[in-house]
């Protein structure tokens, strides 16, 4: 069970790195800050470790000893950075004083609901993982099988990036897929010396919990606790999240990277101290986005471009930090695609005329849009659909002031670009849309859903505020009445 140790070291290294890079950025209750850092660590640690593992594998140096050595060096470096920066007193601490938060009086009931939902979620996960420990289709055909090849030693790892894998079956052969998830699982295989199905199950749970925790904790850090609790409940009601958590796919990992990028970009934008470290962290999340699935690349490019534009007035050091943070992910992807991948996925037409021919088929535009719409409809069950819950909240709580919403609107850009890129793929692909859309559209929603929820809740007025405003006229009136009575007595 040495893989448990390697997994713990990996996440711990990521956690210390997240703490070092984002110290002081969260003006929040301690528990929320801890959870944000931990969930970022669940992305950073495995992401960086998977890149180093890929380097070890490609150099024929990956074995149990070298993997543990690499992980311990990573941990030592992360702890060292955190120690250095925390003892020197430098941080991203905001100059502005945090506004004291009112408390929503029914938080305790929301906490109980969350506890119940979490228990159900874990039972759900356990039930599904026990029945299908090898995972669903893509886990068997792509993620887990590539992980095994990476951990096989010698030149055998190259079979993970060959179109021979999957028998050239369209939909099962993805030689060019990035290696974050397979690399992270393969790393545990190498560390443990065994192809243990429990490793893939543990990885799946880690990234699902990362999404869940980051969504709520980041909202609690930036807005209010009640909003965070409501966001958690809406996510638990999202079938697209709960079902994907047990499949051993990479879509929730992709969702974690997307969400982390938005959270960190937002934190950097609101920080008045312009620390390059926070921008480096945002860049890291952006770069790791494109190391997970091909869908991550358009998001990563758009997020990087939006960040460079947004922070253009902060100086070269800040922009360099953002770009440098993104470098490992982009570099690893480029090296994989150009130096090692053999064959292609045969998804796209080989000629311009083929592309134009597909684009001019009007039916494809409608079928693609309908497919994405259907995937959103399937994101939840009818009477507990997350859109229904969001509609209730929007109707009752309303939204923050328009200028506040405008300030955050730039964060929609990478999400929109990711969605449009997938839509464009549907328009031009040579694969039958009847086969492609039903599976991929749902997973696109899984990748974007937590970010969309985050954007929604960041724009929503807090229950604490709405509740206090509802109570205010009664108090004001009684105070005014008492003052008038006092003046009359004089």
């Amino acid at each position: 069970m040495l893989w448990i140790l390697s997994l713990v070291i990996t996440v711990a290294a990521g956690w210390f790195l997240a703490r070092a890079l984002t110290a002081g950025a969260w003006n929040a209750p301690r528990w929320a800050t801890f959870l944000v850092e931990l969930s970022l660590g669940a992305l950073f640690g495995p992401g960086i470790a998977s890149i180093f593992y890929f380097a070890l594998v490609a150099a024929h140096l990956a074995n149990q000893a070298s993997v543990f050595a690499m992980l311990l060096v990573l941990l030592a470096a992360s702890v060292g950075l955190w120690w250095k920066w925390s003892s020197s007193g430098t941080s991203n601490a905001d100059a502005t004083v945090a506004t004291p938060q009112r408390t929503f009086p029914w938080n305790w009931a929301l906490w109980i609901a969350i506890a119940l939902s979490l228990v159900l979620f874990m039972m759900d996960f356990r039930e599904a993982s026990s029945a299908n420990p090898a995972g669903e289709w893509d886990a068997i055909s792509t993620w887990n099988v590539r992980a095994r090849y990476l951990a096989s030693g010698g030149d055998l790892w190259r079979r993970a990036v060959s179109s021979d894998l999957g028998g050239h079956i369209i939909g099962s052969s993805h030689p060019g897929y990035p290696l974050f998830l397979s690399g992270f699982i393969g790393l545990q295989f190498s560390a443990g010396g065994v192809f243990d199905e429990t490793i893939s199950i543990a990885a799946s749970l880690l990234f699902a919990m990362g999404v869940l925790i980051l969504l709520g904790a980041s909202i609690a850090s930036r807005r209010t606790v009640a909003l965070a609790l409501l966001a958690w409940l809406v996510l638990f009601a999202s079938e697209v999240f709960t079902s994907q958590s047990r499949m051993q796919y990479s879509d929730l990992l992709q969702a974690l990277a997307f969400l982390a990028a938005l959270v960190l970009l937002d934190a950097a934008a609101r920080s008045t101290t312009a620390s390059p470290r926070l921008l480096f962290a945002a860049g890291l999340a952006i770069g790791l986005s494109c190391w997970i699935k091909n869908e991550g690349l358009p998001f990563a490019i758009a997020a990087l471009a939006a960040g460079l534009w947004k922070f253009r007035s902060r100086g070269v050091a800040s922009l360099a930090a953002l770009a440098l943070g993104a470098l490992p992910g982009f570099a690893a992807l480029a090296i994989l695609k150009f130096a090692f991948v053999q064959g292609s996925e045969e998804l796209l037409p080989q000629t311009i005329s083929g592309v134009i021919g597909n684009l001019t088929q009007v039916g494809r535009w409608w079928q693609s849009a309908r497919g994405i719409g259907n995937a959103i409809f399937l994101a939840g069950n009818l009477w507990t659909h997350p859109l229904l819950l969001m509609a209730v909240l929007a109707f009752v709580l309303r939204f923050v002031a328009p200028e506040e919403r405008r300030k955050a609107s730039w964060l929609l850009v990478p999400v929109a670009v990711a969605a449009l890129a997938e839509y464009a793929l549907y328009l031009v692909t040579t694969v039958s849309l009847d086969v492609l859309i039903p599976t991929s559209a749902y997973r696109l929603i899984a990748q974007l859903w937590p970010s969309l929820l985050w954007l929604f809740f960041m724009a929503l007025r807090a229950p604490e505020e709405a509740y206090a405003l509802n109570a205010k006229p009664v108090i004001a009136e009684s105070v005014a009445t008492a003052s008038a009575a006092k003046r009359k007595r004089r």
Binding site: L110, L116, D124, I140, V145, G167, S238, N381
Partner: protein
């Protein structure tokens, strides 16, 4: 209103989580090891013990490609046989050729009893061992 909204969301959130759990139980009951990924570890263990880890392995089956089980059967075999790699050799040897470009070893993945030796011969392979449970080891003629 705010309190009512919070309670509605809380109730429906928990109901949604419960709904998902029920769906999961039903799916697990109906489709345990849906694609044979776990069962394959044991089913192909004897095959792995006889074929070198670096081998490319030919693959053929009695399943028709139009059947839904055709691709999952291949994929679960692929997962179990790692680090070996599977290559389809479904078509018969072309008359007048030796099939020498086919992998040295082959896996017959059968779902029904039959003349496995004949199935192998038609593809340029000789039966080496019937390993049971529809798993047959072949060697190139």
């Amino acid at each position: 209103m705010v309190t009512a909204a919070a309670f509605i969301v809380a109730t429906l959130g928990v109901a949604g989580a419960f709904n998902s759990y029920q769906t999961s139980i039903a799916y697990a009951k109906q489709f345990p090891d849906a694609y044979g990924g776990s069962a394959g570890q044991e089913r192909f263990a004897a095959f792995n013990a006889r074929v070198p880890a670096s081998a490319e392995v030919g693959y053929f089956t009695d399943l028709d490609p139009s059947r839904g089980a055709y691709t999952p059967a291949f994929l679960s075999a692929q997962l179990a046989l790692v680090p070996r790699v599977l290559k389809f050799v479904n078509g018969p040897i072309v008359s007048g050729t030796t099939g020498g470009d086919r992998p040295e070893w082959a896996l017959g993945n059968f779902t029904q009893p039959g003349d496995f030796a004949a199935a192998g011969n038609a593809r340029g392979y000789a039966l080496v061992a019937d390993l049971g449970n529809g798993v047959v080891l072949f060697h190139r003629l």
